[in-house]
Symmetry: C2
Subunit: 328 residues, 2 copies
């Protein structure tokens, strides 16, 4: 039995609670309760242009998992409110970002269907979720470390929305930034964000595949490289060694490489899997992607010509880590 000894009715209703946490976040429900201590579901619906009947059902699903309590249309935080509020981005990643993947599992598991672009995820939703996961759990590890480093030119591999670069560069006069991403959408969004932040003179965005970087003049002078939430894309092992070796080659002036990612968990019995990890590992298995364990990384760095200076644990997702690397 798992710790809670859940019945099938509870398992069933928890799925509805999971979808509801994501939706509640997106329509501003958590913020409203946190700020005001309670809310009126009907007034909230009218205020946000939401269908009151749907909101009432959403509140019930949240209530069934003790996230809120309700008395008529008055909604107050329940015993699980703070935990749900803090982990809402993890739910969003799963239900909104990967919902279609999990809905269509029976199709995606069939070998005959697993070629070409065989699955779909919501890239925009995943990017929103990852931004929040970063802010909540990764920045508190990353920011103090980056403070101790001396750098003039930072490149971000898989720069996504460009937020990390803007943050690192904006607060440091004279520091330049370079964003690298493969996705057209990321190029577009980050270029726009950089312009809006008034940093176009200091931050450039270029398109590039982190797993197969070619030398570019823009890479000269880059002394700090960061890469978040995409290290697993380098794998399987042989490809990871090749990619990491190439990174070292194409950035001739690099002093520090901060590489942060979730790794495949190894320490948990099935009934005690921590939040997020099982969805992350399940989705990547379905997509056919290899996820390295924490222990698998170390020898790869050595083989690819990197020295592991320090390894910082990140608590959520479980067994996430930030590696501080320097060229060996």
């Amino acid at each position: 039995m798992n710790k809670s000894g859940a019945t099938m009715a509870e398992v069933y209703n928890h799925a509805l609670a999971a979808w509801s946490i994501s939706a509640a976040w997106e329509v501003g429900f958590f913020d409203a309760i946190r700020e005001h201590g309670s809310l009126d579901a009907v007034a909230f619906s009218a205020d946000r242009g939401l269908d009151a009947g749907s909101v009432r059902e959403l509140v019930r699903a949240l209530s069934s998992a003790d996230i809120v309590s309700r008395d008529g249309d008055t909604v107050r935080p329940g015993p699980n409110f703070a935990e749900a509020d803090r982990s809402k981005s993890l739910f969003h990643w799963m239900t909104r970002g990967c919902g279609e993947l999990f809905d269509t599992l029976p199709d995606l598991m069939r070998k005959d269907n697993r070629s070409g672009s065989f699955y779909r995820r919501d890239a925009a939703a995943i990017s929103v979720a990852c931004r929040e996961i970063n802010a909540e759990w990764w920045d508190p590890v990353f920011l103090p470390v980056v403070e101790t480093l001396d750098f003039q030119h930072v490149a971000d591999l898989g720069c996504g929305s460009g937020e990390r670069l803007i943050r690192l560069t904006g607060a440091r006069p004279g520091v330049r930034g370079l964003g690298i991403d493969l996705a057209d959408g990321a190029i577009e969004v980050s270029t726009k964000a950089v312009a809006e932040a008034g940093l176009s003179d200091r931050i450039s965005i270029v398109q590039g595949d982190a797993t197969a970087l070619e030398p570019r003049p823009e890479y000269a002078g880059v002394d700090l490289l960061t890469s978040f939430m995409m290290g697993h894309d380098f794998w399987p092992r042989a490809e990871a060694v090749a990619s990491l070796r190439r990174i070292r080659e194409v950035f001739p002036d690099l002093k520090h490489f901060l590489l942060a990612d979730a790794t495949r968990t190894t320490a948990y019995p099935d009934s005690e899997m921590p939040i997020f990890s099982m969805a992350f590992e399940f989705a990547h298995a379905v997509m056919g992607d290899y996820l390295p364990t924490l222990d698998e990384w170390g020898p790869v760095f050595e083989e690819a010509g990197w020295r592991l200076v320090e390894q910082y644990p990140i608590s959520v997702p479980a067994e996430s880590v930030m590696f501080h690397l320097t060229p060996a």
Copy 2:
């Protein structure tokens, strides 16, 4: 607190278990374990043409909710296996039939988005789930009652796959059947099923909207009418009265009407909602459909000219019911 006092990690992982139950059903996983007592996940994957890595994650998600236990790749039934096996169609309705609806809740809740065909469900998946729900929980109530009735010509409103008609007609030489459905897909599927059962000479299928029936020559002689899992489509109240009155008018020779449907639950606190009901009520709220409670039905029958002979409770979904009606 709900009975189990579930943590957010458990809520999270239960969503994965819910998706996995549906997928496991569809790929024959429950049947294989039930028949053989255990299975080898790798051999099962190879045998069914499934990706072994995805199947391993599916097994872990099921194991996290005590549905199976695993020892390496050997999978055995867990404490919740029988309950999950029996309720798998209810999970399938939710995650495979209505998955996209729940994934996109934040969009569908916004009033601005709620016009036209604003939501999508998987009609084929819902029909598969409903067939199983019927067989598991509704037929044991329906079949003994229909045995007691004397009829020569049965019509099924919302006939779907045609299975109910084929069953009622096939076993009763001389009895004729008439299927009525609005959906093109149902017309096609049921016409084909009737032909395959060799009953085309005794069962006809016609297209018609149960909520706005027009008199047809085919309706003469129909002495038994059945309608399953669609009674809520008659509502709201004024429309239900009108539709039921019209049904009485267009079937001049009707003796019995067996109307079975789930109703909106009223008896359960949020933390003790039974399986299925919360998803059923949530989805219908999002779709903008009214769901009557059990108590709301009675007066409507009277007003529409029907006598309620008997009311048979159906246990799953909770507060489901089969009404035996006769023209007043």
